[in-house]
């Protein structure tokens, strides 16, 4: 889940009777499964919450290029290099669709970018962890894209039209990424002793950070209740986390790898796996900017933006000159 702890209005969810006619019509449309489009009336809180959520999702795709980009120049075969390049390119594309979706709500990509670079807006905690071996390229695809899919598949039905449509395109590619990640894990888990070690080590390091992607339990959160009423959040964090564990545990077994949780066990009665919670203190530290790579990631993004300024200005100036010359000729 690339959007974590999104604040909504902070007030309780209004009942239909408490709403003014406009808002009531809006909510009834959502309840009936209808879509809200950019030109439609929407409550201010809905707009703001969506901007925060879509923006954070977009930023996650952008910053998410870095941990995987870290291995492009060291990919072990031409084919692996091409697959990884294509994946990272897809993530940049996801960022682009999502910024476009956010722009339909009246915020510019530049503004969102500035808010990311100043640290005002966040991106998913997961991208603050380092990628240390080639097996991490497998683990990221398998677990991180896997966790993202859990959240994004239901969001294809979200109430905001442009967001829902962006999700449809994105989900297709994300499931591709997950399969490619799993394929790397298979190669590693069935490879030499060193490769098996790398695979297990990658799982050890990425397991709990992947569980954190869903955010802490939000079953009592007023923010989540509002977002769910608006259908911009479709499931609770706990539901999605459980679904992820239930899907991933058998896959790990298939790979012959051990999930680093001694309490992980199938619970016949619940029909789900029992598992340990991640260390939520660590999660909050990461959100505060104390993730292992938080500083590196923000430095890299800021450096790219600052060093790219002359390019953006140059291309803009040229476009203006061209326009002026064309007008002069007419």
């Amino acid at each position: 889940m690339y959007a974590q702890m999104i604040k909504s209005t902070g007030k309780g969810v209004k009942s239909l009777d408490e709403m003014e006619p406009e808002e009531r019509a809006f909510q009834e449309r959502i309840n009936a499964g209808g879509k809200i489009e950019p030109k439609d009336w929407m409550p201010d809180g809905y707009r703001k919450t969506l901007i925060r959520q879509i923006g954070q999702h977009a930023h996650s795709e952008i910053v998410g290029q870095l941990p995987e980009g870290n291995w492009i120049t060291r990919a072990p075969t031409l084919e692996r290099k091409a697959i990884l390049l294509a994946k990272v390119q897809d993530e940049a594309g996801h960022g682009l669709y999502l910024y476009c979706a956010a722009e339909t709500l009246g915020v510019s990509r530049d503004q969102l970018t500035r808010d990311l670079l100043s640290g005002k807006m966040k991106y998913s905690s997961i991208f603050n962890y380092p990628t240390l071996t080639w097996a991490d390229m497998g683990a990221v695809g398998w677990l991180v894209d896997g966790a993202a899919i859990m959240n994004q598949v239901p969001l294809q039905r979200t109430s905001y039209g442009p967001y829902a449509r962006a999700m449809v395109r994105i989900c297709k590619e994300e499931s591709f990424h997950q399969r490619q990640g799993f394929d790397i894990m298979m190669k590693m888990a069935n490879g030499t002793e060193a490769q098996r070690k790398m695979a297990q080590d990658a799982l050890n390091r990425f397991w709990y950070p992947s569980l954190m992607m869903f955010g802490p339990s939000d079953k009592d959160s007023v923010h989540s209740a509002q977002s769910m009423a608006w259908k911009i959040k479709m499931n609770t964090n706990d539901e999605l986390r459980q679904k992820f564990v239930d899907q991933t545990a058998p896959q790990a077994a298939y790979l012959g790898l051990t999930i680093p949780d001694e309490h992980l066990e199938w619970n016949e009665e619940r029909g789900h796996y029992d598992f340990s919670e991640p260390d939520w203190d660590e999660f909050f530290d990461v959100l505060q900017g104390n993730g292992p790579c938080s500083v590196d990631r923000m430095e890299a993004r800021n450096k790219a933006w600052d060093e790219g300024r002359w390019v953006r200005e140059g291309l803009l100036a040229h476009a203006e000159k061209k326009r002026a010359r064309k007008m002069a000729a007419e």
Partner: protein
């Protein structure tokens, strides 16, 4: 002397391999998101072309080396790429200027190779040309846009051109390998590609308000493999590290 056909195919494949690698170094840190996507796209095309050229080279050689063996298990002196493509990325302007100069040569070369007497080479050229035509359109626009942009972008592009122009000549110098290719109708004489290259270059530079350096001095040693720059070894140490550190592994 090694088989000139093998040499020629390594030159084609090493050019795209080394340049593709350089371009991929930009991943995630381009000036705008659209450029991240475009650069990844260029790198992907070049890596794809590398696979075709080097697999064919391996086939021709007949020592059961495939593209990966050639890409990841040869040392600097066995590489046959021109010096231009191993030059470091520098700023975005230098990367774009290097790409433009290469694309312009590449397009001329591939166009001629479509008529190669060697069917597989003609087929690779035809496929690659579609991609490279698009690369050249993009880099032409970028060189013009940044050359004729702000004072700063103009100055940076001029500097990039000055820095890279001494590596242009090598792409057009013919040697024995080229002679053998011409004799068999496999590839054109690179010197014959120069007039068209120059004509387009002059036109683009004029639109970009950039000035071609006076000196036609040209560094040599890349395509012959006799003397690469220091940059190539560092690139290979990164690119080949996993394959060399874990030689029994498959990936």
């Amino acid at each position: 002397m090694t088989d000139p056909l093998f040499e020629f195919l390594c030159r084609m494949g090493d050019n795209t391999l080394v340049l593709g690698h350089r371009v991929s170094e930009w991943c995630g840190v381009a000036p705008v998101l659209e450029e991240d996507i475009a650069l990844a796209n260029t790198a992907l095309d070049l890596i794809g072309q590398t696979t075709l050229w080097l697999n064919l080279a391996g086939e021709v050689e007949g020592k059961s080396r495939d593209a990966d063996a050639l890409a990841f298990r040869r040392d600097v002196w066995e590489f046959r790429n021109v010096l231009l493509v191993e030059q470091p990325n520098g700023d975005f302007g230098q990367t774009m200027m290097r790409q433009f100069l290469f694309d312009l040569w590449h397009k001329g070369m591939l166009t001629a190779l479509q008529d190669s007497s060697h069917d597989q080479i003609a087929a690779i050229a035809e496929k690659s040309l579609k991609e490279v035509t698009y690369h050249l359109e993009r880099t032409t626009d970028t060189v013009i846009g940044l050359g004729d942009g702000t004072d700063e972008s103009h100055a940076r592009m001029q500097k990039a051109l000055d820095r890279l122009y001494p590596f242009v000549g090598e792409m057009f110098v013919a040697d024995d390998v080229d002679g053998a290719m011409v004799a068999h109708g496999i590839a054109p004489d690179p010197a014959h590609l120069r007039p068209e290259f120059d004509a387009t270059l002059d036109e683009v530079l004029s639109n970009a308000t950039l000035v071609k350096p006076d000196s036609e001095f040209a560094h040599k040693g890349g395509k012959s493999g006799q003397r690469h720059s220091e940059h190539l070894g560092h690139m290979l140490s990164q690119m080949q590290w996993l394959q060399r550190a874990y030689p029994d592994a498959t990936w």
